[in-house]
Structures are given as C-alpha cells and as structure tokens.
C-alpha cells in the first residue's frame, strides 16, 4: 500500500478494495512512527485528516468520486490552509492560522483529496537544502546524513519515505525539481501562470509556481490536472482552455528531438551525475528519440540574474511581515519603527534577512538600473536562448542538480556555495518555462540522481510523455530507500 502510486491507489479506492479512512489511518500511523527520523512534517492533525477521509469515502460510496478522491496529500507549509497553521518554515508565522484556503488547496479539496499534513521547508522558500527551516532540517530518506534538497525538502522526503503518495511544493529557482532529484522522486514546475498563486505565500512573484511531487510521471499528470486552472484572484493566472496533462503519456518517442545543452554537461557537473544522465539520454535514444547537441550561450548568467531578481522581489513581498496584522510581533519595543525592526530581526532567519538586504540594495536609488534592470535584460537573453533552442528540439534534457545530495551542514558556511546548486534549474523560472525532474540512477554514496526535462511554454504533456515512456522502460522511480520497511 505504501509503495503504491496515486494512480494505483485511485483504482483500489474506486474498486472499494480500500477505503480512504483505512489508507489515511495507515499513513498517519506511519508518520507517527517515522517522522521523528526525517522531520519532514511541521503540522499533523489526525482528526482533520480523517474527517477529510470520511467525506471522501462518502463520495466514493455514492459513485461521485473524481480521480483524486480519497488520496492523502501532504502540502508544503507555504500554502494557506484554513484552520491549520501555515508557518512557511519561519518563526515569523509560527502562530499563523490561515483564515482562508489557497487556490491550490481549494482545488484539491474540491477533488476530494485528503489533507495529510503540512510539510517542512526552507524558511520562506529560500534555500536549496531545507536547512534554514525554523523547525530544524529535514533528513534525506536515502541517507539520513544528507539533505533532501530544498526548499520543498519536507514534501519530497514525505513522498520518498512513503509517508504520503503525493505532495504539493513550490518552485522559484528549482525548489520542486532539485529536492525531487535528491530524494529519487518526481517533481514538476508548470509554465508560469498555470497554477494560481492565491494563498501561496509569496517569495518572488514573477518566478514562483506551485506544482506536484509524486513517484511517477502519470501521478504528476493527475495532480497537475487538479492543480491548474484560471483563478481571477491571481492577476498572473492565465485563462486558457483546460488540458488533460495525461493525454499524451502513451505516445511512442519515435521522432522526438531531445536537446542536450553543452553548458549543462561541462564544468561544475559532478562525474557521477553526468554518467547517470548520459545513460538516461542513451535510454531515450533506445526508445526512439533523437538527441540534438545545442547551446544555451547565456546559461552562465542565470544564477547571477536570479540572485538579483528573486531577492528584489522577496524584499518587496516580505515587507508585509511587520507584526501589525498577523504573525510574530516583538515582545519589547519603543516606537513603531523599533517594533518593525525588532519584529523582523527576531522573526526572520539568517538566509531570509540576507536576501531581503540584497533585494533592498538592488532596488534602492542609484542601483536599480545597474542591478534589477540589468538582470531583467539578462532574463530576456536567457528566454531568447530557449526560444532558439526549441526551434531545434522538442524537449531539453540534462542534470537537475550538479551533485547528488550533500551532507547536512556541508554548505552552510558560504551562501554562494549553496546558490550554485541552482545552476541548472533557475533558467526555467526566469524564462517561465515548465520543468520537471525524474530519477535516473544513483551516484556517490548511493544517493539519487535526477534527470531534468525542460519543455516549451505549455509543453507539460510532452515532457510528461517523455518521462512516462522512460519510466515504462526503467524502474528508478520504483526504487525504495535502503532499510525502508514499506509494507507495515
């Protein structure tokens, strides 16, 4: 039961072989037993989860079930969930109980999914290792000495440890794809604008996108179908005809052109990751695809541009945390200015403060042109590189992360070392393109390697097709972490 995918569980639930209450209860028991090891969840509420499950069973009994009815899903603690705490991994929101549901939460509830709990994350989604959480780091189920990646590390760890069949996450610079790669699971960031950001606590508004994490491409398609859709409450939500992201899963890959950017296979890539990704490319060729060498000439500028734009937008978005209307307020202060300054110094962790300061600087008078405007121009160059690349290929492939999961504490000393984890992922956020990661093997110390696929705008169905066909021919996505007791 714990190894079953969402698709498999949905079939069992529909056939009444399993009830949502039984499934939810079993997962809650597993969480009770194992969450201490991974620290993947911040909030668990058995009463609320089982109430959701009972409602789902009623729908199933009436034959009114939808594809995700009765499926327990863990939510990154960045999505506002009415009645549950939503902490964003921060002391600033330690006491925040959202008075409303995020759009993504509403949609999944509408499908009859069960809220299984709120997942741990890097504070305010700023990080690549989930080590900056106020609630302590998350440990990688494949190797407890390793990070699970970040910022959706808790969501990824839950799915990898079989604490949940699926989870929601957010991706601003790679925060769904990279933890998926480091924990041997699948994760997808949609085209910017497909998933509403209403109720998804904002980090960088032009980059943030919510998306699914699960153990198969088919599952990602099912979740994406539920999570996407126009929302008038998000001014950047796109109003397009509804798509079935599972429609092309079964298409053979003959004739498909897969682009391999030379910049993704050069300096900075660890050899063990390179080997696993090259092997995946070879497998895709065996499945009938054609690989095409290409270049993304401005790839090296993605990280610098990202670390101007994201902090700039974060400095604006996080200015709302001032102790006035919700969240932490300092206990002692003099005047209003003092209250703001102490509240924010106390409520935010080191990395968040760093990024707010960078962002404030690059937006300040005299520096805006040299930094923010420059970065937005570089952004257009990066988007143009992709547009050019997609004239010669249908999907781009490469490593998700330059290395396998690193040890906890290994990159804490120098923020820039941490930022360089994002070299292959940030470009898709800057350009607004969809991207995903699926497991493709193992590297150093038996830690998972992820294959990244980047699609053209609205190319999710095609990316999922490539992933699904790869998963029909390989079984990396079905591997379980060592020592994991999956059937108890």
């Amino acid at each position: 039961m714990f190894n079953a995918t969402v698709a498999e569980l949905a079939r069992k639930l529909a056939a009444r072989e399993l009830s949502s209450v039984e499934l939810t209860r079993a997962l809650l028991a597993r969480i009770e037993r194992l969450n201490g090891r991974y620290n993947a969840l911040i909030s668990v509420d058995a009463g609320k989860s089982l109430a959701d499950a009972r409602d789902a069973d009623a729908l199933l009994a009436r034959g009114a079930a939808r594809p995700l009815t009765g499926i327990p899903i863990v939510h990154k603690d960045i999505f506002c969930t009415r009645g549950w705490r939503t902490t964003c991994g921060s002391k600033m929101l330690d006491n925040f109980v959202a008075p409303y549901d995020a759009h993504v939460i509403e949609r999944l509830k509408g499908e009859g999914a069960v809220n299984l709990g709120k997942a741990n994350m890097d504070e305010f989604a700023m990080g690549s290792s989930t080590e900056s959480s106020y609630y302590g780091p998350v440990r990688n189920p494949w190797d407890e000495a390793a990070v699970p990646g970040g910022s959706s590390g808790g969501s990824a760890a839950c799915v990898a440890a079989r604490l949940a069949p699926a989870a929601t996450g957010t991706d601003t610079g790679g925060s769904i794809r990279q933890p998926a790669a480091m924990t041997g699971i699948c994760g997808l960031k949609p085209t910017y604008g497909l998933v509403s950001r209403y109720g998804m606590i904002a980090f960088a508004s032009s980059l943030d996108q919510g998306g699914p994490l699960a153990r198969s491409a088919e599952d990602l398609a099912l979740l994406l179908n539920a999570m996407t859709g126009f929302d008038p409450r998000d001014s950047t939500s796109l109003d397009r005809a509804k798509e079935d992201y599972a429609r092309d899963l079964a298409r053979p890959l003959t004739g498909l052109r897969i682009g391999l950017p030379q910049e993704y296979f050069g300096a900075g890539l660890d050899a063990d990751v390179g080997r696993a990704v090259e092997a995946a490319a070879a497998e895709l060729r065996r499945l009938g695809a054609e690989t095409v060498e290409l270049s993304l000439p401005n790839a090296g500028l993605s990280v610098p541009a990202y670390y101007v734009i994201a902090p700039a937008e974060a400095s604006s978005n996080l200015s709302r945390f001032d102790g006035v209307r919700y969240g932490h307020r300092a206990a002692g202060y003099g005047d209003l200015m003092d209250m703001y300054c102490r509240t924010r110094a106390e409520g935010f962790g080191t990395e968040v403060k760093r990024r707010i300061l960078i962002g404030t600087y690059v937006l300040s008078h005299g520096y805006y042109d040299a930094y923010y405007l420059k970065a937005q121009r570089v952004r257009r160059l990066i988007a143009r590189d992709f547009a050019e690349a997609f004239r010669r290929c249908d999907v781009i492939a490469g490593p998700t992360s330059p290395s396998v999961a690193f040890d906890l504490g290994a990159k804490s000393a120098d923020p820039v070392q941490m930022y360089l984890n994002d070299i292959y992922t940030v470009a898709a956020n800057l350009a607004g393109l969809p991207g995903m990661s699926i497991p493709c093997g193992f590297g150093e110390r038996g830690r998972p390697v992820g294959l990244q696929l980047i699609g053209n705008y609205f190319g999710e169905a095609r990316m999922l097709n490539v992933a699904h066909q790869y998963q029909q021919a390989t079984d990396w996505h079905r591997r379980t972490p060592p020592g994991m007791d999956s059937e108890s």
């Binding site: 541009a305 209003l336 300061l357 300040s364």
Partner: protein, 95 residues
Amino acid sequence: MPLSLDDVRRIAQLARIAVEPSEAERVLADLDRIFALIGEMQAVDTEGVEPMSHAQDVTLRLRDDAVTEPDRRELLQSIAPSVERGLYLVPKVIE
C-alpha cells in the same frame, strides 16, 4: 563593488530589520560574497535588450469598479496581535 558597514546600516534601516553592531561585520562579508556572484552579470552587453518581467505577453486584467468582497473584518482580525474596536493597534510614531 564592495560594500561598507555604512551601506549595511543604511540597507538595514530601509528594510526595517535591526542589525546589531556585532552582526554587521558578518553580514557585510556575506553580502560581499553574494555581490561578487551577481557581478558576473555585468560581463554581458545588454544594450538595446528590453527588460523582461513576464514570460507571456499578457496585459493586466481589469474588472468593473464594483464591490465584490464581503466584509470579513472579524475573521481577518481574529489573528492579529493587537486589535481594538476594529482597529489594528501599534505603538506611536516618535519623531
């Protein structure tokens, strides 16, 4: 371009985040490292390139200027640190 402690103090003030003198040196060192990374962006010529803030060429949606939100003041203020008679309470501003 290296920053100074004065820059750190100025930015912290703008960002409304108290940075203790004992922290300022470490913050400065971290920011300098990050600015060295960001500086790499200056290597490319972007003359004539339009800044890009959004992937799709979309315009901001407009709607009728009509009241659509219900009054949820009680619900939304129920989570505030300090509220009285429908007003958020804050310490006074001392000029």
